[in-house]
Amino acid sequence: MNVDTKVIMGDLVLRTPLLTGSGTFGYGNEYNTLVDYSKLGGIITKSISLEPRNGNPPPRICETRAGGIINSIGLANVGVDAFLNQKVEALPIGKTEVFISVVGDSVEDYTSVVEKLETIEDIAGYELNISCPNVKSGGLSLGGDKEAVAAITKAVRSMTHRFVSVKLTPHYAVIAPVAEAAVKAGADALTLTNTLVGMAIDAECRKSLLGNVTGGYSGPPLKPVSLAKVWQASQVVDIPIWASGGMVNGIDCIEFMLAGASALQLGSVLFADPTAPERILVEMTEYCERHNVERFSNLIGSLEIQ
């Protein structure tokens, strides 16, 4: 059986539902000898801010015994001007769809960055990161605020025809109101979810494992949390959902599609296995063959409730 891997979201056609999670795939070319771009529907860059950010003091990454990793990068990025001057040239435009992640502390930050990014030709769209746990102002605090999410989304919507996904934090007990606010403000998709706030301690040394003490928890333990948010949101919104959180194999990805996701972001898994896109596509195809599913898109939201 020839399984159709394509997913379509309005005008946007992704040849596979696999995307790279922001911050795990740099500016799109660092992995170029290791990752097969033809297996990716698109890539999402590191979040870009108006001014350059140096990020948090080291150490910035650690593992936990329960599995998964915690990072406290602190949105280190070159800033939008240096991005335009130094990084755009190496974006994998033409090899796969390119989305640029945008982050800021205020509505004006987001619109100023997007205004500059609008000058780049041939990118597919933006992901608005309104959810990072690693910065004090903005980030998570903005993401927790329904009005802020709506204001940022609306402002960016009014200045671009490109695809816009709004990335939210998993820290809501109830995600529906924020998801609905983003949709009403004109989002084309929701990305669910960013990392959870986490912390790790080395008891022997009495030290926190991260320079910033707390960070963003990602990898396999995040998956059940993100899965629940994807499913909850899919019950109330009718725009596509991009899943992010802990996927390491094809079955993880299938589960997210059953719960309602149209696209799947591979994040931390790339650190362990940069060949994950290729491997996961094979695993997803095998699943579809076993279950007589002709198209990946037929899986979206097809969960049966017990």
């Binding site: 795990t24 660092e30 992995y31 590191k46 080291p58 150490p59 990454i61 650190f271």
Partner: protein, 238 residues
């Protein structure tokens, strides 16, 4: 551990590293960075001490097992020219990239610091063959003291103009690197330090592995801008 990998062994340079997958289970999740040890044709050596779960699992690999490496990664040591006097200074397991470097340098002074005779990180036969001078903290082998003290003592034998020709290549624990950096600064000796930092991607994509810049705001990436740095360019923190 000896690994068959023609692509890496034939294309790597001293100072570069490989990023090693521990297993397929995703727990432990991250790869472990290890320096590329001496290469012989299609083979390279990985030399490591068991520190935690990852290196423990690696140490249990059996001959014939497959292992997943990404590499060669990072910037290599800048090789000395004919006129300079290279001095290789290793601390503990930090000696590994210097063994590889030693294979590319005709005549180097090679110093290694260890805690005691029982914690040597190089076989005694290899120590003799390479002419490595040992310093031990407890005095049980070689010079009684740490390797930076041994270096300072060695320096006394060199004249002022000779000192200017020295290039130090070093890798070891942070306290040693900090002490060494200040000795080199005192005598205006050029020093290249191979640094360590916890890493996720290993290829410059995630911004995990930073060391503070000495001459500017911000950070270098150890995996991409290093692991080898000019000592003057980095601010070392204990």
């Amino acid at each position: 551990m000896t690994v068959y990998s023609p692509v890496i062994s034939r294309h790597c340079q001293a100072g570069q590293f490989v990023h090693v997958r521990i297993g397929d289970s995703f727990n432990p999740f991250l790869r472990r960075p290890l320096s590329i040890g001496p290469c012989d044709g299609d083979y390279l050596r990985l030399i490591f001490t068991v520190k935690g779960i990852g290196t423990k699992i690696l140490s249990e690999k059996q001959p014939g097992d497959m292992i997943d490496l990404i590499g060669p990664l990072g910037k290599p040591f800048y090789l000395p020219d004919e006129k300079s006097c290279p001095v290789l200074i290793g601390g503990g397991i930090g000696v590994v990239p210097l063994l590889t470097l030693d294979d590319h340098i005709k005549k180097a002074v090679f110093l290694l610091g260890v805690q005691s005779k029982t914690s040597l990180t190089v076989d005694e036969s290899e120590i003799n063959q390479r002419g490595i001078s040992i310093a031990s903290d407890d005095g049980s082998i070689g010079f009684n003291g740490n390797v930076v003290q041994l270096f300072e003592k060695t320096l006394q034998q060199w004249s002022g103009t000779e000192k200017q020709k020295i290039i130090v290549y070093a890798c070891g624990p942070m306290p040693m690197m900090i002490a060494l950096k200040s000795v080199c600064a005192k005598f205006s000796i050029k020093a290249y330090l191979s640094l360590e930092a916890p890493m996720a991607c290993g290829v410059g994509a995630c911004q995990s592995c930073v060391v503070r810049k000495a001459k500017a705001e911000g950070y270098y990436l150890v995996c991409q801008d290093g692991p080898v740095f000019d000592a003057q360019d980095v601010e070392l923190q204990p």
